[in-house]
C-alpha cells in the first residue's frame, strides 16, 4: 500500500532536509566567507574609516577630518594628472592588448609545432616579473641603450624614448602591452579553440571567406571571452605600478605617474596615510564601476551567443 503524507508533514520534512542539505555547504563554505570578510571587507571598511582621518603613519592620535581627503584628491594636481594618465593607460592598454592578443591568437590558432612554439614565445613576457620587464626596457630605451644604438646604425638619430614626455608615455603604454598581451592571446586562443568545427564547415559550404568566417562565426562565439579579457585587462591596468616604477620612475617631470604610484608615494613617502587611503577608496570604486559597466555593456553581445 502506498503511503500518503498529510500536507503539514509534507511541508515539515523538506524544511529539515533543507537544513541538512545546507549544513555541508555552511561548514565547507563558512571558513572561506570568514576569511573573505576578515581579509577584504573589514580592511576595506577600515580603510574607508582611515580615509576620513589625517593619520600620518606615526602617531595614534589622528583626528577625523570628514571628507577633506576626498576633496583634496580632486584638487591635487599631481593626483589629477596621475588619474588622467592612468585612464589613458587603461584605455589604450585595454584596446591594444585585446587587439594584438586577438590578432595573434587568430593567426596561430591552428595546430602545428610552429604555432605551439609561437604561443610559448608570445606568452613568455607575461610570466616575467613586471619589475624585470621595466628595468629591461629601461636599459634598452635609454639614450645610449640598445634601441638607440640600433637606430644609430640605421642612420636614425637618438629617440628620447624615456626623456621626452610624449615618448615616455608611449613607451610606458607599449611596454605594458608587450608584457601583457600574451595573457589576452591565451584566453582568445581558448575561446577560438572551443568554437565547434561544424560551424566553420557549414560556413565553408556556404562559400564564406576566412575573414567572413572570423567575423561572423568566431567573433560572436567568443563574445564571453572578450568580456572576460576586457574586464581583466581594464582592472589590471587601473592599478599598474611596478612597470612604471622600474621603467620611468614616474618621470620625466612626473608625466608617467599612475594613480597607484601616487597612492604609494603619498602614503608611505609623504606619510599621508589618510590621504592615500582616500585615493585607494576612490580607485576601488572607479574600478568596480568600470568593471561592472563593461560587463553589463557586453551582455548584449553575449546574449546573442546564448540565443
Amino acid at each position: 500500500m502506498a503511503a500518503t503524507l498529510s500536507p503539514a508533514r509534507a511541508r515539515r520534512r523538506p524544511a529539515a532536509r533543507v537544513w541538512r542539505d545546507r549544513l555541508p555547504g555552511i561548514v565547507m563554505g563558512g571558513p572561506a566567507v570568514l576569511v573573505f570578510l576578515a581579509m577584504f571587507i573589514v580592511p576595506m571598511f577600515l580603510a574607508f574609516v582611515l580615509s576620513l582621518t589625517d593619520w600620518n603613519g606615526y602617531s595614534l592620535n589622528f583626528t577625523f577630518i570628514g571628507f577633506d581627503n576626498y576633496a583634496e584628491a580632486f584638487r591635487n594636481p599631481r593626483t589629477v594628472d596621475a588619474a588622467v594618465f592612468t585612464a589613458v593607460v587603461a584605455f589604450c592598454g585595454t584596446v591594444l592588448c585585446n587587439a594584438v592578443g586577438l590578432f595573434i591568437a587568430a593567426l596561430i590558432a591552428g595546430n602545428g609545432r610552429a604555432n605551439t612554439l609561437l604561443r610559448t614565445i608570445f606568452f613568455y613576457p607575461y610570466i616575467i616579473s613586471s619589475l624585470i620587464i621595466g628595468f629591461l626596457w629601461s636599459a634598452m630605451l635609454a639614450p645610449e641603450g640598445a634601441v638607440n644604438g640600433l637606430l644609430g646604425h640605421l642612420g636614425v638619430g637618438p629617440v628620447p624614448f624615456l626623456t621626452e614626455v610624449g615618448f615616455a608615455k608611449a613607451s610606458v603604454i607599449l611596454t605594458i602591452v608587450w608584457s601583457s598581451f600574451g595573457f589576452n592571446m591565451i584566453l582568445f586562443l581558448a575561446g577560438i579553440k572551443s568554437v565547434p568545427t561544424e560551424y566553420y564547415e557549414a560556413a565553408t559550404v556556404d562559400g564564406a571567406s576566412k575573414w567572413q568566417q572570423f567575423r561572423n562565426v568566431t567573433l560572436p562565439l567568443i563574445a564571453p571571452v572578450f568580456t572576460v579579457n576586457l574586464v581583466l585587462t581594464l582592472v589590471g591596468l587601473l592599478k599598474v605600478y611596478d612597470i612604471v616604477l622600474a621603467l620611468t620612475d614616474g618621470g620625466p617631470a612626473g608625466s608617467t605617474q599612475t594613480i597607484v604610484y601616487q597612492i604609494l608615494r603619498d602614503s608611505f613617502g609623504q606619510s599621508e596615510l589618510g590621504f592615500g587611503a582616500a585615493q585607494s577608496v576612490i580607485l576601488l570604486i572607479v574600478t568596480a564601476v568600470l568593471g561592472l559597466a563593461v560587463t553589463f555593456a557586453r551582455r548584449g553581445a553575449e546574449k546573442k551567443v546564448a540565443d
Binding site: 580592511p43 577600515l46 592620535n61 635609454a142 628620447p160
Partner: protein, 420 residues
Amino acid sequence: MIKHRTLASVGTLTVAALALTGCAGSDDDGGSGGTSEVSLLVNVTPNLTEEYWNELVKPFEDAHPDIDVVVQNPGAEGVAAALPRLLTAGDAPDVVQSMPPTTDLAPELVDLSRYDWAKSGPLADQYSIDGKYYMAGIGFQLQSLWFYNKTAFEEAGIAAVPTTVEELTAALGKLKDAGWTPVQTGGDWMTSHSLQALGLPSIIAEDPDWFAHMSAGEATFSDTYGDAVATYADWVAKGYIPKDSLGIKYPDAEQAFLTGKTAIYPMGSWFAGTEAKAEEKAEIGVFRAPAVAGVDAPAMGANIASPYSILKSSESQDAAAELVEFLVTDQDAVASQLEVDGNFRDGYEYEMDDLGKELLQIVADTPAESYTPTGQGYGERTLPTGYSDEINAQTQALIGGTSADKVDSAMDDWFASTAG
C-alpha cells in the same frame, strides 16, 4: 569602538593591499625581555652590514655588561618603512637610526635636550623642533658640492675653481668649447640636485629663514628661486646640461663622471666614498657650490649623517641614551661610521684620500650657521609635503624644454595650494 591602534595597523596594510593587492611581510623581533636590553633599529646596507653593526656596539656592551644591545634589521623595507609599522603595532625599538626627526615623528621621540652631546652635535640646532633636540648624529653629509674632473679643467684652461655662479657659468662654457659634456646629471631623484646646488647657496645666504617664509606663504618661489631657475634654463639652452640626461640612471651617471666622460658632477659628499673605492677613475677634485657674485657666505646644504633617536615608548630610555652617546661621541665608533659611508666631521678623522681631505677641509671651513637643509628640509626648516618631488619634476621639465617662467609659475601655484 575601534581602537586607533587596530585601525591604524589594519589600515596600513589595507592601503597597500588596495593599491597593489600585494601582501605585507611580517617581522618578529622576539626580544628576550631583559630590563637592560636595548633594541637598535638600523638600516642594513652593503656597507653597513648586520655584522658591522654588531661589531660597532660590542665595545659598548663590553663596557656596560648590564646592557644588551639587540640590533634589529628591518630587511628590504628599510627603517623608514618599518618604523611606522612597528609604532602602530606597539612594537617600536628603543633606538632608531637614520630616521631624521620631523614634526610628524617628533611626538614619538624622546627630547634629548638634557644631554650636552645631543645639543652640541653636528647640525643639532638645524634639526631641533620647537627648541627640542630629538636626534644626535655622527657627522655631515654635504650636499652643495660640485665635483670636477681636473683633466677637463686643465684642457679647458680653467686655472682656479669657480667661486661665484657667474664664474661657474663661464667655466661651463669653456668646458663645452673644449669638447666636454659640462654637467653630469641624470633622471630619477638626482635631477633637482643640480638646481638646488645652483640656487640654495645664494637663496639661503640672502634669506636664512627662506624655508619658514616659503612655508608660511610670505615669499614666492619665482621671487626667490627665479634667478637660479633662469640660469639653469640658460645652461640647458646652451647645452651645458644635455637634454638626454633624464634617461640616465644614478649609477650610470656616477660611473660616467667617475671614469672621466664628463666634467662636473653635482652630488653629495657620499660620492667620495665611491671614488675612494674605485680602481679606475679620473683625477677628481671638489669645490663648494658657489653663490652669485656679491654674496659673501654661501650656504652649504647638508644633512645629518646617521642620526639616532630614542623612542618615547622605550622602557630603557637611560640605557638607550648611554648607547646613543657612545655611538655619536666615541672616537673609534664615530670614525668607523663616518668612514664606512664616506661622511665627515671635524675632529674625527679616518684614513682618506685627497678628495676626502678636500671635503674635510670644506667641513672645517664652513661655519655652523651656514648649513642649510635641502629638498623638503628638516627640523623647523621644512617646506610643504611633496616639495622634493615637485622641484624634481619641475627641474626635469626645465631639461625637457619648459621655459623658466612656466616653471616659476608652476612652483608658485604649487606653493599657493600647499603653503600657509
